[in-house]
């Protein structure tokens, strides 16, 4: 026990030493010998006796203060939470306990991730700047002009193919060469 108790055993108990053992005396934590000495002193000393009586009444009143009652659904709440935990464990997922307890860890790691990505992209851009394209505006398309041009092209194509056909007809054996359109019989 405490040093005060050992001192109490040696000598006659003075009042100031009683104060040191008052609390363990009230708590019934003194060894029987020291307790007996204190009780003898209390019988002989009215001042200490009055103090101990006051304290006994006071601490009893403090002890008897009303207690709070648990809510009626307390058991159900706890059992429901245990059920949830068991389900999680059954599926083998128990979360990330480290992160659950340290949300700051998540925030800081996300911050550093973005910082790292930012530096990476930044340095890359300095080395290889993005190509700048001199884009000239596309000319406006005139649909009628486009149509007439395509028509001319088609006509030209038709003309060329017909000329080719005529040329092959002239050169092939057994077939007399076709008379040109401006052929004059008299000029032969």
């Amino acid at each position: 026990m405490m040093w005060t108790q050992s001192r109490l055993k040696k000598n006659v108990v003075p009042c100031d030493q009683i104060k040191h053992v008052l609390s363990p005396y009230l708590d019934d934590e003194l060894d029987p010998e020291t307790r007996e000495r204190v009780q003898t002193h209390l019988r002989e000393c009215p001042a200490c006796n009055e103090e101990i009586n006051f304290q006994q009444v006071f601490w009893t009143s403090v002890k008897q203060l009303p207690e709070v009652e648990p809510p009626p659904a307390f058991n159900a709440f706890v059992m429901a939470r245990l059920g949830e935990k068991r389900l999680k464990n059954r599926w083998g997922f128990t979360g990330f306990p480290m992160l659950n307890f340290r949300p700051s860890l998540v925030y800081s790691s996300v911050f550093f991730l973005f910082l790292f990505l930012g530096i990476l992209i930044g340095t890359n851009l300095v080395k290889n700047p993005l190509p700048v394209f001199n884009q000239t505006p596309e000319p406006e398309v005139n649909m009628t002009q486009l149509l007439s041009e395509s028509m001319d092209l088609q006509l030209q194509n038709v003309r060329e193919t017909s000329m080719e056909l005529l040329a092959t007809a002239h050169t092939s054996p057994g077939n007399p060469p076709a008379k040109p359109s401006n052929f004059n019989a008299e000029g032969e």
């Binding site: 609390s23 363990p24 009143s61 009303p66 207690e67 009652e69 706890v78 939470r81 245990l82 935990k85």
Partner: protein, 196 residues
């Protein structure tokens, strides 16, 4: 012998081994046994009923999760109150951090008394509530370690040895803490009564 009598005769250790064998429903017997004491311990520590019952729930979930670590040669009350004490101290630390950021958060807060089991007249209830408020305020003024030791001794009626098992403090330290808490409480109450 009915079911309730059977439950009363089963020891904590027997219930623990039954729960560990897979009979989760038996854990409810432990909840029934200790919920009131745990809620009251936390409530006396933080003076907030809603928080106290929420922390008590957390405590029981934690007890269930760590039940495998419990050794039968230990005292089961020491085991569960260690968990409750640690959770409460963590909560107090968090609250301190929050009030550090918002200084006026705790000011003007109406004390939450929770549902009491008093069947006295209204007059007595009022007087008792005033007295209770005074003691609650005096308790709040104690240092955390003093408050823990004092509440465990006065309200839970734990021996110094049991408190030592729960807190890990030496018995002389517990003796000093409780003695100082008593002196400090008496001083505060006397001052308040003189003011009145």
């Amino acid at each position: 012998m009915d079911e309730k009598d059977k439950e009363k005769n089963i020891t904590d250790d027997q219930i623990v081994s039954s729960v560990l064998d897979g009979n989760t429903r038996d854990f409810e017997i432990l909840i029934d046994r200790y919920k009131k004491r745990i809620i009251n311990f936390i409530y006396r520590m933080i003076s907030d009923y809603d928080e106290a019952q929420s922390l008590a729930q957390d405590a029981f979930v934690k007890i269930y999760e760590t039940l495998k670590k419990y050794k039968p040669q230990e005292n089961f009350q020491s085991f569960i109150f260690t968990i409750a004490k640690n959770l409460t101290l963590n909560h107090i630390k968090k609250q301190k951090r929050i009030t550090w950021f918002s200084h006026s958060a705790g000011e003007g807060k109406i004390p939450d008394h929770g549902p009491f089991n008093i069947r006295d007249s209204q007059h007595l209830i009022l007087e008792q509530n005033q007295y209770k408020e005074m003691i609650d305020d005096a308790l709040k003024s104690l240092k955390e370690n003093q408050r823990i030791a004092f509440i465990m001794k006065i309200y839970l009626d734990f021996s110094y040895i049991r408190i030592s098992e729960i807190t890990g403090w030496s018995i002389p330290k517990i003796e000093t803490l409780i003695s100082r808490a008593r002196s400090s409480l008496i001083e505060t109450v006397r001052k308040k009564q003189r003011i009145k």
